[in-house]
């Protein structure tokens, strides 16, 4: 799981760099977000934002594997609260 998360972080950083260069080279006076650069930045930022969610899910899997039920319950509570807050924001 750590490898997958590191890959996500690396890919996200690469997309952000590529997107930033593409946006700045397209319009050096006022960076626009349309086209290839904008798409790269949007995907890069989305991947970055997903990392903490995967981090908590990874912790949940670890606690369940180790049969540490009180900690698994606490982690599940964090996942549930996170999901609730995200869904609430999307609903707005």
């Amino acid at each position: 799981m750590t490898r997958l998360l590191r890959f996500l972080l690396f890919t996200s950083a690469t997309l952000l760099v590529v997107g930033l260069i593409a946006c700045l080279s397209t319009d050096p006076h006022g960076p626009g977000t349309a086209g290839f650069g904008g798409v790269c930045i949007t995907i890069g930022l989305s991947m970055l934002v997903s990392i903490p969610v995967f981090n908590v899910l990874s912790a949940l899997v670890t606690e369940i594997r180790e049969r540490e039920w009180p900690f698994a319950a606490a982690t599940a509570a964090v996942v549930a609260l996170l999901a609730y807050n995200v869904l609430q924001k999307i609903g707005h």
């Binding site: 998360l5 950083a13 997107g19 930045i41 970055l48 934002v49 990392i51 903490p52 912790a59 996170l82």
Partner: protein
Amino acid sequence: MLAGLAAGCLGAMLGLGGGIFLVPVLHRLVDVPFDTATSISLVTIIGTSSVVSLASAGRQFVNIRLAVVLQTLTVLGATIGSYIIEKNFLSGHTKGRIFGATALLVAIVMLSRLNRRNVIRDPKVDPGQLGGRFHDHDSGEQVVYRLRRLPVALGMSLSAGVLSSLVGVGGGVLIVPALNSWCGIPLRVAAATSALMIGITAVPGVIGHYQSGHLTQPVLAAAAVIGVLIGSRAGFWLGPRSGVRSLKILMAAILLIVAVEYLFVATQ
């Protein structure tokens, strides 16, 4: 990008989100609208959190189990804070003063315990369910730490959640010194654990800002995040070379600036 670099460096060394630093720079110097500056700051917080939790230099200090246990109370506190805001129980001045007074108190406690290391040099000692082990750069040995006063840690996480909702700052500025000064957690572990926590807390905020149309300058966000990613690496390099005592003094100085800002400047 330079502001992101400084925020990432502080985040990796002290577990702060950097919002206290990044938002004023983007808002006042770069002339970015306040909501956009806040949304960019939240994205960079996730950047710092991701680097600290995944890079091998930071990962050994992250206590994921402790972070999750404290996170439940922080989220509950943030919900209570939102309720207080909805019901208008406190004026803006009162909220700022409560936060300023708390930051001042934590800074004084931190300065009074500068020499406390919170590490046990015998690696055979059982760290307990919420403690851990790591390689200590200062002594060059494997050391153990144990969590003390769990109710204090939980209470402080709850308070940090309430205050972060009320005044719009990450909880790291309170959680790191509290864990270090009162709960037996070494500063670097407290900082890395806090960095993981604030990343989790920031996710709904980023989505909310995106939905509300505040993330209008993704190019600036990308530049700030790249700065944070580079700054975090610099923080990992600087952290072990700075010594725990210097880091504590830096943390206390930041807390004092925050306290003065909220007690005297922001409330005028």
